[in-house]
């Protein structure tokens, strides 16, 4: 039962730290975005701004109040579950997020479902064959994948599969997906591009973690007592390597949620990352803040899950 107590303590502890982190992040984001030149009123009016219209719009947006007051208002709204009103879209922030967040989650989960098994398999294979030809080939391949920027992968994929072969559409912005075939066609290319980026990272971390364990003395013992290499790797080394692997996976997944703005731009995919970039360009503070909170929250959640997985999978931590 010790594992449950540890897990409960960890979760409680993390919730407290998490709330504090969110508060600090929101204050930092608020300060930095108010340092950006121009505000929402000036951005909205652009070249045609006059002093009078800027003032009127500022009053409409509540930008005429001092910064700390605006921040306190926003925070008060957040606590009561009100994310506020978007300046540029003049609709509730919650409504904007509601159309984008499921899209981002869907893309992230499909990519994770494809990439995590492949990455783990590749990493474990490479670790088992460390120093061998397979390991070197995989190392070269994953290093190559890490080095190629995703906009290049995406653009080449579009040129090849959409423009030349016409297998898939160049855009993945379809809002009304009717069947599995259409789903596949819509998601194939963005998922392929993202897999390119995250598989390599996860596979390399997995390989390093497993190799680290394979050089430990208990593994030597297992080899000496005659266990087969696959059994040594999967039964003995892997459970001890799950902690770092889970962390690597968590990092990659948090990237999938908020860091995919290039893929969203090229495939015209209406996700959260491009919403946030839009919001920064328009100086649309409530949307920027809401997106930042979501990304930060997802990151904290993923790290927490990774730690829990590490504790629950590791016999030594579990029974301490």
């Amino acid at each position: 039962m010790a594992d449950k107590a540890i897990a409960a303590r960890l979760v409680l502890n993390r919730i407290g730290v998490g709330a504090l982190t969110l508060l600090i992040v929101s204050a930092v984001i608020f300060t930095i975005t108010s340092l950006l030149p121009g505000d929402a009123a000036q951005e909205a009016l652009g070249q045609s701004a006059t002093a009078e219209t800027v003032a009127a719009l500022r009053a409409q947006y509540g930008l005429d109040k001092p910064g700390p007051v605006r921040y306190a208002n926003w925070l008060g709204g957040l606590v009561t579950g009100n994310l506020g009103q978007s300046f540029s879209a003049s609709m509730p922030v919650a409504e904007l997020i509601a159309t984008r967040l499921p899209k981002s989650l869907l893309l992230a989960s499909v990519t994770a479902a494809v990439s995590v098994p492949i990455a783990l398999a590749l990493g474990i294979l490479a670790a088992m064959a460390r120093g061998g030809a397979l390991d070197r080939a995989l190392s070269l391949a994953t290093l190559g994948m890490v080095a190629v920027p995703e906009f290049l992968v995406a653009t080449v994929a579009v040129l090849l599969f959409a423009v030349k072969l016409r297998w898939f559409p160049a855009l993945s912005n379809s809002l009304d997906i009717k069947d599995a075939g259409q789903f596949f066609r819509t998601y194939a290319m963005p998922v392929l591009t993202l897999c390119f980026v995250v598989i390599a990272q996860m596979a390399r971390m997995t390989r390093a973690a497993v190799i680290d364990q394979l050089s430990a003395s208990y593994v030597e013992m297992a080899v000496l007592k005659g266990a087969k290499p696959a059994r040594v790797a999967l039964r003995h080394a892997l459970p001890n390597a799950i902690g770092p692997i889970a962390n690597a996976v968590a990092l990659s997944l948090s990237y999938l949620l908020g860091g995919v703005v290039i893929v969203e731009t090229i495939f015209n995919y209406p996700g959260l990352a491009s919403l946030m970039v839009d919001a920064v360009t328009n100086r649309d503070m409530p949307v920027v803040q809401a997106c930042a909170m979501i990304f930060c929250f997802a990151y904290l959640l993923l790290v927490l899950v990774a730690d829990l997985v590490a504790i629950l999978s590791n016999p030594r931590l579990r029974h301490r």
């Binding site: 219209t53 855009l171 090229i266």
Partner: protein, 513 residues
């Protein structure tokens, strides 16, 4: 009434545009030789779409907004392919000394919700721009409306603070499209335009369907139009060539070969009044020196800017802002050449040496390349132009007109008066160089009040000469708009104020095959 001079719009602005009995816009060109077909769906991609996308005509900021508004709403007037105004919701336009304008409204026009168009709608739509809370992009333009009122059951009268013969041109802008009286909530659109709103998600897409009760019989031809935004130019071209979209804006000159060489696709070049200009501030050194200004003007290699920077998709300009396609263009003004000797002579006279910084940005189309071209020319006469590349984000508020030597980027204006008033009048906030010229200001006011076409054209010609000779800005070329389209789209013709037939393509084009 007898002693008042009244002109009908058609007489006053009779520039050879064909207006049929029903007031239907007909465009010249062979594209119309083929009978238009009804039906079909077009998906079109602009270059920018964000959560700032709006259904409020007053707030339109980018081409995507103008296109959306022109699909959903109609204006009192409409421009033809020579930018001459034609009657639209107003079927008859009279004016008294270009100061009091009377618009007789077309009968039996219905909004999308079924209600009839009334003078109250027009009065509301024009007056709301003057309210600062509307945050209208054309508030400064609307301030010339002294009074807008219903002057009869089917008539609206606009009294201006001073004469302006260009009012019908100004009212054709998408910002002045007519909305329903009293509407403040623009989460949906209720207009009199050729299409009705089906779905609108800012930053994602706009879908419109044909308005069966549109006031132009037989129009529009398309059943449905979907408007999306693809920021990245290669992604936009790829979407076109893979068949995902049928029409795109802003094809990079470098991509034109790729589009044109793909069977079934073509690029439409719209020669326009868009320009990127070199701004020399009058209140700073060394740009306040007239000889330095002349040296810079002679340093601009216009032919090379046209061929190297824009791959030929531009028209050589002559340091004045009216393009050859405009009806008030002054032909015969001698072209200022690229002349290093003259540049050197003026530079020596100005006694300028050392480093002169120039600010260029991706926000001003082609300015970085043009700055580098000028830098190379300047080296040949012993001047060191230091090119500072600054980010596009925040350029207009942080750099534009804030240093002695910067670049500006001016979109085409349909009205010569508007262009000169906004960017060249001595007291204009966007008088980029801070140029002050009394003679020019007088001509501008006189031309605005002059209803006689020939006299106006002469005055605008004189103003072009003044700007060319004295105004401290350099205009190297007029940049063409490049639209990419599937050749199945018919009826697409250039309208020199912008791409996509000045953002009105949806009601004019049809699908073939």
């Amino acid at each position: 009434m007898d002693n008042r001079k009244r002109d009908s719009l058609k007489l006053m602005l009779g520039m050879g545009a064909a207006v049929s009995a029903g007031g239907i816009l007909t465009l010249p060109g062979s594209a119309f030789a083929q009978a238009p077909k009804r039906g079909g769906r077009v998906r079109a991609a602009t270059s920018s779409s964000s959560t700032a996308d709006t259904l409020d005509p007053a707030k339109g900021a980018v081409g995507g907004d103008y296109t959306r508004h022109n699909m959903l709403y109609s204006g009192l007037t409409q421009l033809d392919a020579s930018l001459t105004p034609l009657p639209a919701l107003a079927e008859e336009i009279r004016n008294d000394k270009a100061t009091t304008w009377t618009f007789k409204l077309r009968k039996h026009v219905k909004f999308h919700d079924g209600s009839a168009l009334t003078p109250a709608d027009v009065v509301y739509s024009l007056n709301r721009h003057k309210d600062a809370a509307t945050a209208s992009k054309v508030k400064t333009v609307a301030e010339q409306f002294a009074e807008v009122k219903a002057s009869g059951p089917n008539e609206v009268q606009v009294k201006l603070v001073g004469p302006n013969a260009d009012l019908p041109v100004i009212l054709a802008a998408s910002h002045f499209l007519i909305v329903k009286d009293g509407v403040k909530d623009f989460t949906t659109a209720n207009g009199t335009g050729p299409f009705k709103l089906k779905d609108f998600k800012p930053g994602v897409r706009t879908v419109v369907v044909r308005n069966e009760n549109y006031w132009k019989p037989g129009r529009p031809y398309l059943d449905e139009v979907e408007l999306i935004g693809i920021q990245d130019e290669p992604a936009r071209v790829n979407a076109l060539l893979s068949g995902d979209v049928q029409l795109i804006v802003q094809v990079d000159p470098r991509s034109t070969g790729r589009v044109n060489s793909t069977p079934g696709y073509a690029v439409l070049e719209t020669k326009s009044g868009l320009f990127t200009d070199l701004i020399m501030r009058q209140d700073a050194a060394p740009t306040g020196n007239p000889d330095f200004v002349m040296a810079m003007k002679y340093l601009i290699d216009r032919e090379q800017a046209k061929s190297a920077v824009f791959r030929g998709f531009a028209v050589v300009a002559n340091d004045q802002p009216i393009p050859p396609s405009h009806r008030y263009y002054l032909a015969g003004l001698p072209q200022r050449p690229y002349d290093l000797d003259k540049a050197k002579f003026h530079l020596k006279k100005a006694n300028v040496s050392g480093n002169v910084p120039v600010y260029a940005t991706a926000a001003a189309n082609g300015s970085i390349d043009m700055a580098v071209l000028m830098q190379q020319s300047a080296q040949k006469i012993g001047l060191n132009l230091a090119v500072n590349r600054v980010p596009a984000d925040g350029y207009w508020s942080n750099h534009w007109m804030k240093h002695p030597l910067t670049f500006g980027n001016i979109n085409p204006r349909t009205s010569a008066d508007q262009l000169f008033t906004q960017f060249f009048k001595s007291d204009a906030p966007w008088n980029e160089s801070g140029w002050k010229n009394e003679q020019f200001d007088q001509l501008l006011l006189a031309a605005r009040a002059e209803p006689d076409e020939a006299k106006r054209k002469k005055m605008y010609g004189d103003m072009q000469v003044l700007v060319h000779e004295k105004c401290p800005i350099g205009i190297p070329v007029f940049i063409s708009f490049l639209d990419g389209h599937s050749t199945r789209i018919k009826g697409l013709v250039p309208t020199p104020a912008g791409g996509w037939m000045y953002y009105t393509f949806a009601e004019h084009v049809w699908l073939d095959g």
